[in-house]
């Protein structure tokens, strides 16, 4: 019996469940992550799903190298991280860039729209320019309606065009975490 994605609880956003289905339908079998509240549903679904590998990382750059290893072995990998993790990936991004390994990461943003924790601001503001300097295509999502078409575009660019792609889920979409 294939894993059945549960229905979203009433009142909760439906896009994380639709996003998980999209990733599964695209053939993703490895989900790696350093946990973040913005990825809670995806992480929990991957943990509950016996058909995929759900891999907790100690540092986000492990996921960059894992994705390349998955491709060597014929599987598709997605790395889920908070925006602060982007800084941990910089040197490792040379692996997919130089080797033209498909690389897709989905970042839940902190340090942007409405942020109340000043410690999140420096990396939040740096994520996109830093990733773009490393030749990573950045696709930003601000509304629930944009999630699926944007990640679809990212999947195609990563796995057909062999690009490194980051989808940035903004705090307009996720809501700014109450802080302080």
């Amino acid at each position: 019996m294939p894993f059945e994605i549960p229905a979203p609880p009433p009142g909760e956003p439906t896009w994380p469940y639709e996003l998980y289905k999209l990733l599964k339908d695209a053939g993703i079998t490895q989900f790696s992550y350093v946990p973040d509240a913005g990825h809670k549903v995806l992480i929990n679904l991957s943990l509950a799903d016996p058909d995929v590998h759900s891999v907790p990382l100690t540092s986000e750059e492990e996921g960059v190298a894992m994705a390349a290893g998955a491709h060597l072995g014929g599987q598709k990998h997605v790395l889920l991280m908070q925006s602060s993790g982007a800084g941990n990936c910089i040197n490792m991004l040379s692996l997919p860039r130089l080797g033209k390994f498909p690389f897709l990461t989905i970042l839940s943003m902190r340090g942007d729209f409405g942020e109340g924790n000043p410690w999140q601001m420096p990396m939040g503001k740096s994520v996109q320019p830093v990733l773009e300097a490393c030749d990573v295509v950045c696709l930003r999502v601000d509304t629930p309606e944009e999630v699926i078409p944007t990640v679809e575009a990212g999947l195609t660019m990563a796995f057909q065009s062999q690009e490194s792609v980051a989808v940035l889920l903004s705090q307009k979409l996720l809501g700014a975490k109450k802080f302080g």
């Binding site: 490895q30 907790p56 994705a67 491709h71 060597l72 040197n91 040379s94």
Partner: protein, 195 residues
């Protein structure tokens, strides 16, 4: 540094007896040459790096999960492993039965002027691997420990870690491609039949 005595050129072929039975990911510098020398410059069952330091163990994990019916080895140095030593914890959590790690520890950063590394001072990577939760760990620091570790590599049916302590003599000399895309394509064609 008194227990860093073994010669990598002699011990590694004794640990990995039939290299073509494995898919192998290496770190940069010395271990890339160790494995290229073992498999031949044109071998298609290994992927070496010349950068992306700290990525070898995680890359091997991604490969091992993708290819559960193949044996996967990561062969990497002490400096490369120390850069992302948390990857040992990630491997231990996933515990893939087809993945083994061989850390060739010479206690030095051999490629950059032979500076003494942390393991040449105080750090014990075998203990760190055990602490991460990897169950099968062997230290190989002298002749008497080689055969037992080689049997574990050969028989391996659980995640394992070999802490191989060697002297700081040079790795084998071999020309290998540094084109990360070309070597990826060679590897995938041999394994998957597709680029």
């Amino acid at each position: 540094m008194s227990d860093f005595v073994l010669d990598r050129k002699e011990v590694i072929p004794r640990l990995i007896q039939n290299a073509d039975e494995y898919l192998i990911v290496t770190g940069l510098a010395g271990t890339a040459r160790d494995v290229a020398s073992l498999c031949g410059a044109e071998g298609a069952n290994y992927y070496t790096m010349a950068g992306a330091m700290g990525g070898a163990v995680a890359m091997g994990l991604g490969l091992a999960l993708a290819q559960p019916d193949k044996r996967v080895l990561v062969v990497t140095g002490d400096g490369e492993l120390l850069m992302n030593v948390g990857a040992l914890a990630t491997v231990a959590v996933m515990n893939p039965p087809n993945l083994g790690i061989i850390c060739v520890d010479n206690g030095h950063y051999g490629e950059t002027g032979n500076q003494v590394s942390h393991t040449g001072h105080t750090t014990d990577l075998g203990v760190m691997a055990s602490g991460a939760g990897i169950k099968q760990v062997r230290t190989v620091a002298d002749e008497s420990q080689i055969d037992d570790a080689a049997a574990m590599v050969k028989g391996g049916n659980a995640t394992f870690f070999v802490h191989l302590k060697v002297n700081d003599g040079p790795p084998p000399v071999i020309n290998r491609s540094l084109d990360a895309n070309y070597t990826k394509t060679v590897f995938r064609k041999a394994l998957l039949g597709t680029a």
